[in-house]
Amino acid sequence: MTPYLLRRVLALVPVLAVVVTVVFLLIHLIPGDPVGVMLGPDATPAQVQATRQALGLDRPLHEQLLKFYSRVLRGDLGQSYFLDRPVTTALLERAEPTLVLTLASLLVAIAIGVPSGIVAAAHRGSAWDRLLMLGALLGVCVPGFWLSLNFIYLFAVRLGWLPAAGYTSIFADPVAALRYMVLPAVSLGFSQSALIARISRSCMLEALQQDYVRTARAKGLSQGAVTWIHAFRNALVPVVTVIGITTAILIGGAVVTEIVFNIPGLGRLIISAVLRRDYPVVQGVILVTATAYVLINLAVDILYVFIDPRIRYE
């Protein structure tokens, strides 16, 4: 097990190296002079030159890259030009709402997706199966942000049951926090539940056909017991994989959802940074989210080891 884990962790290094390189290259994709664009029209030529030197943009590319690496490794993501503070500070200030939204949507996606998949598999071919899979198809095709708007119109504007926008921290006021989270998490989670439903269904179907399941049935265990106990446990492995990928998509989906619901998270941060040409913040957000994705996948892989006994002996 340990050599496997070690290999997995070492495999992270080149991937993260590529991530950091891509983030670095972003500035160099800007047409024209990036420093002039970043500092904006207020800057005097002297300031532009000073910033260019400070950022090392007057040095050859490979030198700049090395410098960038060393900065990132030290945790220095630069300074935000608009917010007048280090990028890391800005990121930390906005991380909580995004984390809460991603987690809540993940829970919703699992809560809708897994039971749907299992039920559909258990009643394969029936009207239930078809209905659930139709729902899954719609979940994939209906744009999440449009669904959010429709939810706002229905539940906030017309019915007035829930707030139209906003955010409160769970640590400040749990009940209010929940009320604000319902519409965002459900609209974001619904879109992702579709994939989870499909995968759960196919995994369940496979598992249901395994030898040990047929043996269990032959031994006389009821249909229900077989379904829920044995098959479910084995279907867990691929489902856990999907959850890893889903989280990545959810982090992306959280961006849009934050804009629709006026939630002060990383999504709102990156959009205002783009509009204000605050490139260090843009770089910081994508660096952090990509790293989070890589680490989540690592966690999923480690989780695998404990769930699927077959892997242990590799």
């Binding site: 080149p14 390189t21 891509v22 800007i30 744009p143 990545a248 998509i249 961006v255 783009v274």
Partner: protein, 282 residues
């Protein structure tokens, strides 16, 4: 054994698949709408008409008007052009890029190590966030959207092609060809690429769908196509401001988006079921 018989069987299977038919049908409607947009529009979509702002759907304005009096039907019809242009071009570029990279990686072991790390790295970024960052660097505009989305989605295709190549490389045909001294490029074209067509079509349909959705998201966020160009995302964004007074402005472009996505997902599912049984979901 001639190659003609299997090819025809292949085509017949595809044409018989219900998902493919329905998907293609809806897609055809959208494409036609885009092609004859000028003719089926009732108004100039960019024309502001303040006295007629926020009108609900009527005989004069099929889908109503927005806060500046622009006709929503015309906006939706014209918006399909941007969506289809972005979707199709992204699909073609990612297919091309994916084939080149996938072939290189699958065939040459040394390249594989490098290329796959790069692809893994690119795929670590949540798709939309990477697209937003690229738009931030390049600025607004249709071609920048296409560039950004192509960068974002090429790795997926590359991985797919690579795994296809890895399998086929070990087959007897290819081993024999190499033993005979055939050049790599010839092998690629003769044996490997034809087997990639199936997966490419399947993957392409899905990427078409992702690209249409991504373009709309970028437009909605204000970092895609400029607001002066009619696009589904832009219209939904403007409708958000007046959702209480005029819910139809955000409603109809979203329906169009859903239908387009539906058609391409059905097409992709159907193609996958018929062309590539390995990827089948039972």
């Amino acid at each position: 054994m001639s190659e003609a018989a299997p090819r025809h069987a292949w085509l017949r299977r595809v044409a018989a698949n219900r998902s493919v038919v329905v998907g293609l049908g809806i897609l055809a409607v959208v494409v036609c709408a885009a092609l004859v947009a000028e003719r089926i529009s009732t108004h100039n979509p960019r024309r502001l008409d303040p006295p007629n702002r926020l009108q609900s759907p009527s005989a004069e304005h099929y889908l109503g008007t927005d806060e500046f009096g622009r006709d929503v039907w015309s906006l939706v019809v014209h918006g399909s052009r941007v969506s289809l242009l972005v979707g199709l071009t992204t699909m073609l570029l990612t297919s091309l890029g994916g084939v080149v990279i996938g072939l290189g990686a699958g065939y040459y072991r040394r390249l594989d190590l490098l290329l796959m790390r790069v692809m893994d790295g690119l795929m670590a970024f949540p798709a939309i966030l990477l697209a937003i960052a690229l738009m931030a660097a390049r600025g607004p505009g249709v071609w920048n959207v296409i560039f950004a989305l192509s960068v974002v989605y090429t790795p997926r295709t590359a991985m797919l092609i690579r795994s296809t190549v890895l399998v086929i490389r070990e087959t007897d045909y290819v081993q024999a060809a190499r033993a005979l001294g055939r050049r790599d490029l010839g092998i690629a074209f003769r044996h490997i690429l034809p087997n990639c067509v199936g997966p490419l079509l399947v993957q392409g349909s899905f990427i078409f769908a992702y690209a249409i959705l991504a373009e709309a998201i970028l437009g909605f966020l204000g970092v895609g196509v400029p607001p002066s160009v009619p696009s589904w995302g832009n219209v939904i964004a403007s409708g958000k401001n007046v959702i209480r007074e005029a819910f139809w402005v955000s409603l109809f472009p979203g329906v169009a988006l859903t239908l387009s996505g539906l058609s391409l997902n059905l097409l992709g599912d159907g193609l996958r079921d018929t062309l590539d049984p390995r990827l089948r979901v039972p």
